[in-house]
Symmetry: C2
């Protein structure tokens, strides 16, 4: 007979993060970069008060628990208010990626059946087109507040009017911790986007795990700048983990260019930031071009796409420690983060960089395995390459509105191909659909791209499979040069000698002017394959 | 209508800490100091294998889910094996404080109805007495393994025999996360001891929160030495949080003297340690007497009783940062830990020490309030003093075997009296039963003790209330001098001038030879009050 413990049972709710944060850090700041180069600043106390007002307004306007509330917005304090207010009343915060194609955005809003939608003034033209395509949205709310000359229109209401209600007496409701809190669609390259429907429990557990010293590791003395957009898997949970930790929050707004980000880092004393490699590259280029160093930034969490050893070294040179992270929409998103263990302390700097360029080890609460095509577990020996499977409390079990489970024997199939070593370090070699199989052997496109990116004249490199009569497939390297660079194919191919096995070296390099990228900063290999078919 | 999220739902189980730890840190070490001055060392892999064997043995010997398994043991790898094996199969790990009186121990075992009991050879004499007093215990198991000449007896079996079974095919069972996992009795100074029955959920959430950078903050590069005994509220959860983090674990065994602990710290590279002030004092005295510094120790978590500013300064001088923590058996135990916020960075060193001498701020998941005698909430202004109430998922709601709730309106009454400031910093002024009320004003005995302890000749100081005709009560200071110290009452009383209000200064100092302490290292003020009753 099982005995239950005699402990209090309080639901894990997102509103409890807000309550904890404001009770213990009333004066902590939330700073947002505005379009005009100035900043908006206020405290956790102001933030909490406005969030309660917004919650009251949502209730007043009859937003019900379970209703989807859409957002098309950059990283700002207002977006943060919407995060906490919607989830706090039991509604679902549905962040939409404005970089997707109009059809995809319309599809997503219609699939989610959003009741209302908040949008930044940058997206007014988009919203005008969406309005007729998305009948479920009964109110479009412009996130204005007079700080920019936003166009007025009869078709939308304004955020400032929503916040006129008083928050007196409002208290966050208490409900089941498994209640849905947020919705995010994967920007799948094939088929229609699919939604991941997070719960309060999954979000709070993910926040607990993210704060671990070997994960994002946020303290109340940190200033955290999420470069990753709040429409990209909840900015990797930073809106939760930063508040939970009582950290200063620095929101970059719409301008993610290197110079703007550098200025913001310096003026706001940012110590931790997180984003995809392409945005970090912009920041790095700016510092290198101008001989700059960071005064306060000490940790760069980089993920969403593979971060090269090259970038890790470049940041190490200016005393910024890169933490390479792996995640995906279906995993809330953080699965692994890379730090060294005590076993690595005696390795050479170069050997340590090799470890640091892997995607790292699981957060407590996420478990990984790799399997072969027959579903058999492969050993964690750092060599066996297989399909990456994950499970944990912040992993989806079904896609939104789907009836059939997204799992295989209780595990979620990530679609990534990886090795895992005996210390649990994950190394992603490919998306399974990007795998190159040459003469029966797998070639890692990520390895090849990382080496090519080391060339000072290479801006971006992508490696794809090209059909080949004899070998089945052969790797083709596609390169965008830096402006005014003169590098040739042979220079680049020379870099591979003695770095990888001979048969893995691409036969050819093709130069193009622009790299097709997805809306979340990943190489769009589909488009490349179409371009170079045969 | 509420919508639930579409996330996996896996129970939060203690066995998942073990699985995570061993999968990702197979070679990490667990080192135990043995009686003969040598150490026992093995890896997480060995530990996990032996724990599975023990679990198999518990199953074989018919230990059922819900059964209580007692321990009378020091901090060793074997005790850790028992922790994980018992909870892992759904049984309850019941740690017993061997420093209590025989009657109390017998009462506790009988109240818990322990089925079997594991004990260290240090406690064989105790066990011989207990055997006849505790009929529920059907097997007493000596934690021998041939490393000491333990007396054999027909009345008990031996641990080494329990570990002969093979662990092939054993898999940790999956069950409700609210299942009871551990039992610990409070060593209350009045009335019978009462049990706190922890659950898997409460233990895992407590571990998540403890690992936060502003709580205990453990990384996989740390070596953690729990000075606090594993029979004292699960060594403050370090057996869970350290494994969760993949840290090296250093178990001090039975010898908690300053010289032994110092040697162990140095030889094992301990970076974080945690315990009550009296044990830390022993370690500090040893370093001071011998002009020693620590090579690797950088963080001392001190709690269980108030840590003086004096001790914090002394450790700061040798580059060890003290983190003052507050907890209690009913709170698993960690409620608050003290670190500075960015608001404190510009304060003077002395002002910072004042902050650091407070008990700190709540872990995310614990919430505090203070109330007056009428149950009304008092402001968090750092001045209003009230009864401290706590709630959270790792706070008990009922005592073991009790039917009535231990809560008042959903809050647990800690029995402590405290202030809370606007940043959430808790400052315990007294146990409510130790409060001194003089002329209608409350006097904090902890403040007075901390000042007295600053005198170099004072070993321990305790301040208690003495009945007084005019003022109701007056503070009496009781002091144990250091060996061969010559300090007089006037010297000590002079220290209070201009430090606290005049009427708070004790009228008298009494010198005694030994301070009565509880089994968990707290001043036993009851005994003092009896001693000095007019
Ligand atoms: N650090 C990383 N290295 C390589 N690929 C990554 C990394 N982080 C994320 N990804 C890829 O991004 C996918 C998730 O995309 P998304 O759901 O849009 O965030 C993963 O399945 C990986 O293919």
């Amino acid at each position: 007979m099982t005995t239950l413990g005699n402990m209090m049972s309080l639901p894990l709710l997102i509103s409890s993060i807000l309550t904890h944060a404001v009770n213990n850090n009333p004066n902590q700041q939330i700073v947002t970069a505005l379009d005009d180069g100035t900043t908006h600043e206020y405290t956790y106390t102001n933030f909490a008060a406005r969030t309660r007002k917004l919650a009251t307004a949502l209730n007043t306007r009859n937003i019900q628990p379970g209703d989807r509330v859409g957002t098309l917005a950059w990283n700002t304090y207002r977006h943060l208010e919407i995060y906490y207010a919607t989830s706090g009343i039991g509604a679902i915060c549905h962040t939409i990626n404005p970089r997707l194609h109009l059809d995809q955005i319309a599809f997503i809003i219609n699939d989610a059946q959003d009741s209302i939608l908040f949008f930044d003034h940058h997206f007014t033209a988009l919203v005008e087109k969406l309005a007729t395509l998305c009948p479920s949205v009964r109110e479009w709310i412009l996130l204005n507040e007079g700080e920019h000359n936003s166009r007025q229109s009869d078709s939308w209401s304004s955020y400032s009017d929503w916040l006129t209600t008083s928050d007196t007496d409002f208290a966050w409701p208490v409900f089941d911790e498994n209640t849905a809190s947020g919705l995010c669609y994967t920007s799948g390259t094939t088929g229609n986007p699919k939604g991941a429907l997070y719960s309060h429990r999954s979000t709070v557990l993910h926040a607990y795990a993210s704060c671990h010293p070997d994960a994002v590791g946020i303290s109340c003395r940190d200033a955290v700048m999420p470069l990753v957009p709040m429409f990209h898997v909840n900015a990797w949970g930073l809106p939760y983990s930063s508040l939970l930790s009582g950290a200063k929050i620095v929101m970059p707004g719409a301008n993610l260019k290197g110079d703007a980000l550098y200025r913001l880092c310096e003026s706001e004393g940012v110590s931790i930031s997180a984003g995809v490699p392409s945005v970090w590259q912009g920041l790095l280029d700016h510092t290198q071009a101008n001989g700059l160093v960071f005064s306060t930034l000490r940790r760069a969490v980089i993920g969403g796409a593979a971060c090269s050893a090259h970038m890790i070294v470049a940041f190490a040179r200016i005393n910024v420690a890169v933490r390479h992270a792996w995640g995906m929409t279906e995993v809330s998103p953080l699965g692994t983060v890379c730090t060294l263990t005590s076993e690595h302390q005696n390795l050479s700097a170069q050997e340590q960089q090799t470890v640091l360029s892997s995607q790292g080890r699981p957060l407590f609460g996420a478990e990984f395995k790799i399997i072969n095509e027959n579903g058999q577990r492969l050993p964690h020996d750092g060599a066996s390459t297989g399909n990456l499977m994950v499970k944990g409390n912040w992993v989806i079990d079904t896609y939104y509105r789907d009836t059939k489970s997204a799992l295989m024997d209780g595990w979620f199939h990530t679609g990534d191909v990886a090795t895992i070593d005996k210390l649990g370090y994950l190394r992603i070699t490919d998306r399974s659909k990007d795998v190159i199989k040459s003469g029966g052997e797998w070639i890692s496109s990520i390895d090849i791209e990382n080496i090519a990116m080391e060339h000072p004249d290479v801006l971006v490199a992508a490696c794809i499979a090209q059909k080949h009569e004899k070998w089945g497939e052969r790797p083709l390297l596609v390169v965008v040069k830096k402006p005014s660079a003169t590098v040739g194919a042979a220079d680049i191919l020379n870099m591979f000698i003695n770095r990888i096995t001979k048969w893995s070296i691409p036969d050819e390099v093709k130069f193009i002017d622009d790299m097709p990228m997805t809306a979340t900063g990943k190489l769009q290999k589909n488009a490349l394959r179409n371009l170079f078919e045969n």
